[in-house]
Symmetry: C2
Subunit: 338 residues, 2 copies
Amino acid sequence: MIRVFLDALGGDNAPEATCRGAIEAIGNDPELHITLAGPVDVIAPYLDEAGDLRDRLSIVDAPEVIDNSESPALAIRQKKKSAVVMGMLALRAKETDAFVSAGATGAVLVGGMLRLGRIPGIERPALAPLIPSSKGQFLLIDCGANVDSRPEWLAQFGIMGDAYMKRVMGIEKPRIGLVNNGAEEEKGNQLYSQAHQLLKKAPVHFVGNIEGRYIPADHADVIVCDGFDGNLILKYTEGIAMTLMGMIKRELMGDTRSKLGALLSKNAFQRVKKRMDYTEVGGAPLLGVQGAVVKAHGSSNARAISSAIRQAASMVRGGVAQAIEEAITVQTNTDNIQ
Amino acid sequence: MIRVFLDALGGDNAPEATCRGAIEAIGNDPELHITLAGPVDVIAPYLDEAGDLRDRLSIVDAPEVIDNSESPALAIRQKKKSAVVMGMLALRAKETDAFVSAGATGAVLVGGMLRLGRIPGIERPALAPLIPSSKGQFLLIDCGANVDSRPEWLAQFGIMGDAYMKRVMGIEKPRIGLVNNGAEEEKGNQLYSQAHQLLKKAPVHFVGNIEGRYIPADHADVIVCDGFDGNLILKYTEGIAMTLMGMIKRELMGDTRSKLGALLSKNAFQRVKKRMDYTEVGGAPLLGVQGAVVKAHGSSNARAISSAIRQAASMVRGGVAQAIEEAITVQTNTDNIQ
């Protein structure tokens, strides 16, 4: 049995998307048991749809909700009856195996740090979404949990990303790359040129610097960067894809021949859209905390919630947190010997 | 008369692209006179094509060439007979009005700093290409001249971008935005949250933070950032556009209907390509030095060189360097009064 704790009121489309997503997830995975946390009276009606599967769904009353406008640090301290605080404490007490939320990112980060806790040796947990690339996808780490990073953190992000890609994505020897403004190892600002040296010595398959134009070109399975830059890359990807698709759409409607062409190519464009679709990929794992935590996109629909739950279960099955702990111990010991 | 000094051997397609570009430029602008600097025997044959226009083209012998693999600082010191060194010195001595090169970026930056010199009050010159956006284009400043920037530099980038957009692009009140990971003014890392405060006080129309997803969404005419991030944005734009177009192409070839559709929509796709095409836009002005300097793309063809020359002429006509000098004086005086 794998027990997942779900923030039932997290995200723009909750509780409908979260409840339906939970039902879809247990339908796909007979080992799953999901606890939905939120105001009982709000959630309960949605679970009637579960039918035979209802016995693998529980509700725990979490009347307090944390929204995006609140100070995460304050909210985590004060709202003890929120799904985030209750879920992180349950994970720490081993009363659940994984935590999933499409709610406020800041609350998940702070809750993970303060109520669940870091893996011993890890300096900063990091948020690591999978981003579509030319051939498949890559893990971008960190994506906003930390700004003003130190080089040592970036080296640890590489180690955490390595563990995730091995244990969840089944890649035997993930290629770890570092965002940079040039291919040569001395390139970059202070942070990145120092991080390069640390990653060279880290127990991962480091493939060197990845310039902006090669980020989506399948040169690495894990791309390491500071959270400010990761946030920029993640959101800019969305922005530029929207702009480019908008431009194409406008131009296709610009003349009659193209209009007809667009009609005929509809299936192809739908396939592109599906490839770019975050709902298929799941959410962003929060790596470096003592348990499996997945932050789903705020605008998640039921399919996206179900994917995030499947992803959290894969993290439990793959023992990602344990793998990170082992790798960090190896690194720390190696550092001490040198 | 506007005199432009052109690095005739700069860029992947030189000297053919540079010479043809020069001829195209003087054909379009009767006021232009262009001096091509490079090995005379290499350049001279290409200028025969100029015909009647030949009297507005001169050659100056610059036998030394700086390539991308050299240390820019060393090359600028040692290669006194290179087009970059000769051009920057000519600009400083007012023997020419503008300098254009598609050669090594590092050499143009260092040459601009050491042989031409900064505008009094400017701490760091910045490279500022125009990037296509949903509605037109925006100026991205800095794009790689400076990494590890200080907040004061970013504020000056805003002032320089403002002058360029007013004087060259004819925008009366350019909207100046700051790259950031959130809309709220306290957002960002140390560099960006401090730069935000300085831009608020700067003599420009500051519209606040621009998140990644809104960078291409026409929220600002000038987008300010550190050179490391600007380089990332510039190159990633190229990378993601290539990846997305590649994905669309593959999917269009995936079934017969779509293939036919693609054939019919060919014109629309060509219009999109043209909108994304750097050769139409020109090059990246180097702002903050004492003269009009344009760095054209390394893979410039004749059309791109001609656009970069036209752009350099517009900078001279608009008095961009003078406008920056005046704005910086105003800012410095205001700072002293406060």
